[in-house]
């Protein structure tokens, strides 16, 4: 079973062009700016943010929730498509795995930015109490990071071995690294069976882990006495919202990588079409939960509930709310229902819209609720009746997003985005099938 040179040349990672270099440097600059801003925050305290005793969770938390949501893409696409045996997943799974890894790592880091006393991080382990939903997060996030890394790593082994040989002459240093990481992969039957079993275990494990992660994230809110959070809808609402954010991110990143790495022959319109259908399905489910969350409480119209909803429908957050619902959900659904809307370029724009909508959606879940407490906000400075992130908060948040993109960029630079071995195997299979079919059909 010889893998054609063309396939390897097409799929092996290559050095960045000018654009790639500019992109990477920009991301590094934003990240550094964010680190400086964070150091300043540690020195001066969270007084540099615009958070206050009422709006005491701001974009740090909503950004964290966004990262957690996006990391769900690994569980949704890789594992679910694998279990349902959807063959079209091959060229896109690795991108999904990479997004998952980047997002969940950044989620773990972002949550610490919101801590008033980062110097006491270890207290979570020394004095941790199981009854607190924060401890549930402390347990599930590292678990999910490990599972995501393994799900990315195990299927990579054969490809790493291929790359080791591929780069042995042109770049021996890189080749050596691939060699180490490939764990002496030779492709023997025994190795293959171990690898297959491991992947299967991880692929099944990531589904409950992903569900737990999203649910714990939802419970961070629904365990509290707050209008808009205290809802039994939250767990399922977060899981479906995470599918939207994750698949939206996948579509966007996939389009960019396809263009940058010239993978048009491997990631085809067919894949976009399939993924478009998947995205519209997740959007429709999410719409259903949004109706539960925003329309149904209108019927009982409890005082606090209705004040909160009016705040969103027509209050200070109304423009954002309608942008998120219409731009982030309804327009994507309409566009994706048409075959033409599922072509790569329209899908890219829809993906962007979904991701931006998803980000602001988390903001709308977190902050407006905090500004609607049971007892009226009185006796605090006027500015405490509103919340808009400060310069520090924006810089730090942009930096976390840049770091996530940086992790993705780094992995794209050094890993084959489309699995080489599996693509070769599948091509071979189709060849065999073709010959079998032609043999049986012709008398």
């Amino acid at each position: 079973m010889e893998i054609s040179n063309k396939l390897i040349n097409d799929l092996a990672p290559t050095k960045f062009g000018k654009r790639g270099v500019i992109w990477t440097i920009s991301l590094i600059i934003i990240s550094i700016a964010g680190i400086i801003a964070y150091i300043d925050q540690v020195v001066k305290g969270q007084v540099v943010t615009n958070m206050n005793d009422y709006a005491l969770w701001g974009i740090y938390i909503s950004n964290f929730v966004f990262f957690v949501a996006t990391s769900f893409v690994g569980a949704v696409t890789v594992a679910v498509l694998r279990l349902t045996n959807n063959a079209w997943r091959t060229p896109i799974v690795r991108i999904a795995e990479i997004i998952s890894v980047a997002s969940i790592i950044m989620a773990g880091l972002t949550i610490m930015i919101d801590m008033g006393r980062p110097d006491r991080l270890l207290y979570l382990f020394i004095h941790g109490r199981m009854q607190s939903p924060i401890i549930w997060d402390v347990i599930i996030i590292p678990t999910y990071i490990v599972i995501c890394l393994l799900l990315l790593y195990f299927p990579l082994l054969p490809d790493l071995a291929i790359l080791k040989n591929h780069f042995s002459k042109t770049n021996p240093k890189l080749s050596k690294w691939y060699g180490i990481l490939s764990l002496n992969w030779s492709g023997s039957e025994k190795q293959k069976s171990i690898q297959l079993k491991s992947i299967q275990i991880i692929a099944i494990l990531i589904i409950p882990a992903g569900f737990v992660l999203q649910t714990v994230d939802a419970w961070l809110f629904s365990t509290l006495f707050r209008v808009g959070w205290d809802s039994t809808n939250m767990g399922a609402y977060f899981i479906s919202g995470a599918s939207v954010a994750g698949v939206g991110a996948l579509v966007t990143v996939m389009y960019v990588i396809r263009r940058a790495n010239k993978l048009e022959a491997y990631i085809t319109d067919y894949h976009f079409d399939k993924l478009g259908k998947f995205l519209v399905l997740t959007c429709l489910i999410y719409l259903y939960f949004n109706i539960n969350e925003y329309v149904i409480p209108e019927f009982t119209s409890k005082k606090e509930e209705i004040t909160h909803l009016n705040h969103l429908y027509s209050g200070q957050y109304a423009p954002l709310f309608w942008f998120v619902i219409i731009g982030g959900l309804i327009i994507p659904i309409i566009v994706l229902l048409f075959k033409k809307g599922r072509k790569p370029l329209p899908m890219f724009y829809v993906g962007m819209l979904v991701v931006i909508g998803s980000w602001w959606k988390r903001f709308l879940i977190v902050t407006p609720t905090l500004l609607q407490p049971f007892l009226p906000i009185q006796g605090v400075p006027e500015s405490w009746h509103h919340y808009f992130p400060s310069f520090h908060e924006w810089i730090i948040t942009f930096a976390t997003l840049a770091m996530a993109l940086l992790i993705i960029t780094f992995l794209v630079r050094y890993l084959p985005i489309v699995p080489i071995q599996r693509t070769a195997d599948e091509q071979e299979e189709t060849e065999i099938n073709k010959s079998v079919i032609s043999k049986t059909v012709t008398p």
């Binding site: 943010t49 005793d53 941790g128 007892l375 006796g379």
Partner: protein
Amino acid sequence: MANKKTEEGSNNRRNFLRLGLMSSVSAVAGATLISNLTADEVEPSGEKIRVLTPDGKMVEVDAKSINKYPEAVITPTESRKGIPDKKFVMVIDLAKCKNARKCVEGCQKAHKLDDHEEFMKVQLIQNNEEGSPYWFPKPCFHCDEPPCVTVCPTGATFKREDGIVLIDNERCIGCKFCITSCPYSARQFNWGHKEKFEDKSQPYSPETQVPAAEGTVMKCDFCPDMLRQGKLPHCATACPMGVIYFGDKNEDIVTNGSETVSFSQLIKDRGGYRHLEHLGTKPNVYYLPAVNRQFPVERGFDVDEEIIERYKDVPFVKELKEQGKL
């Protein structure tokens, strides 16, 4: 005249509470207290006070020796236990409140709080458009099912045997989860560094919350340091109207400094209730409804412009402003 009477009453009351509480003071500080007494030769004043030793004996000591003894510092570990056999409760009589804000100021002074840091807040509540608004002093409710304690990841906030909910700011990691969990918005966060945090003249105790610390949470604490001395919390002492009653549920007794009444009888007779009862947090702060009021609500507007501005969203205040009466 009336004032003098109040003062006398409050003194009597304090002595009364002191007797009840003295045993607990000596339980904590007793061992050192006694050794202190024997070590120091003090000229006796002649006045004797009876205190309980840790082994349960009643002894008589000279009053001067006790006064000389520095107040015991309750460390974070000790503060988790609570004062034995007590179950503290507060009753706030809304019919008597006229927004004099003495409770707020007294509390701020004792806890070294700044302008907008208020453990006790006086809110103006109007339940419906027709309803008459009333002044609503709001401390921490020290719930029996405290959501803040449930969600705290490190046990920095805790519920004691005597019903008080406190915060150990040396344990707090600043996640703010407890602030979001509190349906009564009782908690506050120290967002930035302040000079007063560095004042170490008074050793830190969760019972006083002084000095506060950056990046940690604080809130009303029912002044356990005062309770240990047999005194009322600062807000109750400061209130000129006797709005705030404080006492012990086990003894079924509460006092506002001038009158001492049976807690259960007070609640029964005056229709006492707990705010947002339906949430099931079981607060230890009760309210007596604002009926048969001693002052019209307008009396409460006899304060700074800045304070009036706080209530601008209340329908009643809007109305007054439209009519040019404010």
